[in-house]
Amino acid sequence: EDAHRGGTLRLVSVSSQGTLDPHINYTSQFWQLYAFLYDGLVGFKKVGGTDSKDIVPDLAAAMPVISNDGKTYTFTLRKGIKFADGSDMTATDVVASFQRIFKVLGPTAGTFYNGIVGAEACLADPASCTLAGGVIGDEAAGTVTINLTAADPELLFKLSVPHAAILPSETPAKDNGNTPIPGTGAYVVKSYDANNSMVIVRNPAFKEWSKDAQPDGYVDQIVYTFGGTEEAAVNAILNGQADWMFDTPPADRLAELSTSAPGQIHLSPLSAWWYAPMNVNLPPFDNLKARQALNYAIDRDALVSVFGGPALAKPVCQVLPPEFPGHEDQCLYTLDPGTEWTAPDMDKALQLVEESGTKGQKVTVVTEDNAASRGIGTYLQSVLSDLGYEAAVQTISGDIQFTYIQNTNNKVQLSISQWYADYPAASNFLNVLFGCDSFHPGTDASINISGLCDKDIDAQMKAAIALGATDPVAADKDWAKIDRAVMEQSPALPLFTPQQVDLLSTRVGNYQFSSLHHWLIANAWVQ
């Protein structure tokens, strides 16, 4: 074991992702780093495989005591944990951290943590947030109590993500930008230049308290370089000049890599899907038959080709990704409906279009300007033309497209998007993407892009969430039904579920993939 300690890991990425502040940053790139920089009260188990979805006590000594009908969670903090700046982690820090989530206008403050008592006031007036009665710390006893307005079966997940990281109480209540905030993790950020590189070194104050929650890392130093191109990153790794790239290797190189460097490639399933939301409030997709027709018509196998072949993507025809809580194999829109997609059913599609009476209408597909999205858009355009629509593609820069397609004012009929789960709960897909609560017409923040707001389905989802608090297994059964009900409405084209491709240099060992943190960098060694 000790033989593997030491050395420097060289990571590369085309670009960095802005603020280092774990309460604000909402990117998988930095969340992957926060895994070994910060801790929450609880956290996902830092192991590879399916166990990585389990929640283990982290800064809390044990799993919380839940009382008051699931509305009160009481945590007992571990003793002797220090922040990287040498100060002790106490209940005060925990309370301050929760207040800080609201004070810095954390992106999930209103969606993850709005169930805490006092959160409404904090959202309305962030600056004077106290969460009085919501988060109560007892310094002497070393406990923290969280009170909710209603039971929330997903609370522990929400406490496990970096947005609920515990930071020193003296951390300024504003976006700390590129200045690292000391954490409790195994490593600390030594320097960060968003335009050039990040250097991560061991946290001198760190002593391993739970290998599951926060294992001590192997390498002494991690150097993360930003810049270059994906192609260049592949070359650098192949040439032994870098150890890992954040970005997906270009599809162009995969064939070559899979023969020349098969040992360096790791494929892992992702809790995500690529889908094409259809606007159910705009013609032609305000017509159910038109929506269903398109779902029947698309050749998901061809789409997989665009993304790099079957090893990199699996065709799906439902919302919940495989192996996700609540997932049950089902496929409505295929040649022979059943559990799996087999082939497109063009005849049925044409018939549906005919019946819908939408033939000849204009449809524009709004895509992002990356190769995959553009490719899918072009493919959809072909299919739409085959179905008798007058189709066009509009490509918009990726950073803008995501909010552009959400705003109903932009009258987007069909677009291409992706959704990655924040934590393993079916509601994180179904309720977020197709619930009435996430439909805000006329704003750029309306993640229910299809605009589907079906009273029945919404009620079922609310019930399933509530059920989850008491009987998660039954709830998952319900979610499977909801999944089917949503697909019957056909508000989106499920395209495929992507696979994570990690390309490592030959010297990296002990690759472990966690479904939430992805590659566990601290668990890998280089010697």
Partner: protein, 354 residues
């Protein structure tokens, strides 16, 4: 020569005996005007003739794109060909070849067959690169040409108004030109594209979607306006102050006629001299914008978008970016060669450079 008044004194004959070179006699064929002379000059220059023919050939080849697509390649290069098949050696094989070796990752489009179908291979969408290359060339040339025209018209307008009106109008326009000038061209083009691409415009019955070629034409046409308007303005000022305009004013010619008959035709040379060079510049600009995906929009093609497609296939199918790259190079070179000769003929003392 007959003279009406008899008492007019004899005109002295030219003192120097006439030599054929010095005095072009009246019996010579009527000499050519400036435009004709320019044409004759071009025709006399082998460089101009060859480069002109070359450009014509390229335009012609691109114009034949539909014929090629329909009768030779037998594909529709704007439709996704992901599940297309091709007959090679009597075997039907997919155009998108799934890797079978090693981990079996990746899907590679077939490479050049050098046959009628997929002559240059397929792109990541399984479409025929050769057919797209021709269509792309059509668009590239059309955009560059239309943008050149637009730019010349706008620049002429701005330059003439500023130069002729003078005063406040000139100050305002010149400062505006300076301002746009200080904005790096590519950045200006990119920002204009991003603004325009997110929008659809409706001017009465005319509907302009973002995928229309008009967007890149307008953008490329506009960004170089300052570069042409400035010299045009200078030229207009020079001509307005020139002796022959002064003479025309002295003769009592109306200002409108002075502008129309005396100033405009003389500015025209400046504009014409700019045309081929601007066109060359526009081809490169178009390709750069499309490469940065703010130019021609999918599924439409241009040499720039093919370069962009080719970038994603650079390591497995370099020919996809090689073809448009070389085409751009050759076309731009021919245009520059032609432009050089044209400039030498029309405007030998013009500012050198771009």
């Amino acid at each position: 020569m007959t003279r009406e008044d008899g008492d007019a004194p004899d005109m002295t004959p030219d003192l120097i005996p006439p030599s054929p070179a010095a005095s072009a006699g009246g019996d010579l064929p009527p000499p050519a005007g400036p435009w004709r002379r320019a044409l004759t000059g071009l025709a006399a220059s082998p460089t101009a003739v060859l480069s002109g023919l070359g450009i014509l050939l390229i335009v012609l080849a691109m114009a034949l794109a539909p014929v090629y697509a329909k009768y030779v390649a037998k594909t529709d290069p704007f439709r996704s060909g992901l599940s297309a098949k091709i007959l090679i050696d009597g075997k039907r094989s997919p155009v998108m070849v799934r890797s079978t070796e090693g981990l079996g990752l990746g899907v590679t489009p077939i490479g050049p067959t050098w046959g009628p179908q997929y002559f240059l291979g397929a792109d990541a969408q399984g479409r025929d690169v050769a057919a797209r290359f021709l269509y792309g060339g059509q668009n590239s040339l059309f955009i560059a040409g239309a943008a050149t025209l637009l730019c010349l018209v706008c620049a002429a307008l701005v330059g003439i108004v500023a130069g002729y009106a003078g005063g406040v109008v000139d100050t305002v326009l010149s400062n505006l030109i300076d301002m746009i000038w200080a904005f790096p061209v590519y950045l200006l083009a990119i920002s204009l594209s991003i603004v325009m691409l997110g929008k659809t415009f409706d001017f009465g019955p005319i509907h302009l979607s973002s995928s229309s070629l008009i967007v890149p034409i307008v953008i490329i046409g506009l960004v170089y306006v300052p570069y042409v308007a400035r010299p045009v303005r200078g030229r207009v000022i020079a001509i307005t102050n020139s002796e022959f305009v002064l003479a025309a004013r002295g003769l009592g010619i109306r200002p409108s006629r002075i502008l129309w008959r005396h100033i405009l035709p003389n500015v025209a040379t400046t504009l014409i001299v700019f045309a081929p060079m601007l066109m060359a510049l526009n081809i490169v600009t178009e390709s750069a914008l499309s490469f940065l995906s703010v130019g021609v929009q999918a599924p439409n093609a241009s040499w720039g978008t093919i370069l962009q497609d080719g970038q994603a296939l650079l390591y497995s199918r370099p020919v996809v970016s090689m073809a448009p790259g070389l085409a751009i190079m050759v076309t731009v070179m021919l245009l520059n060669l032609f432009g050089d000769v044209l400039r030498d003929i029309l405007d030998p003392k013009s500012v050198r450079g771009r």
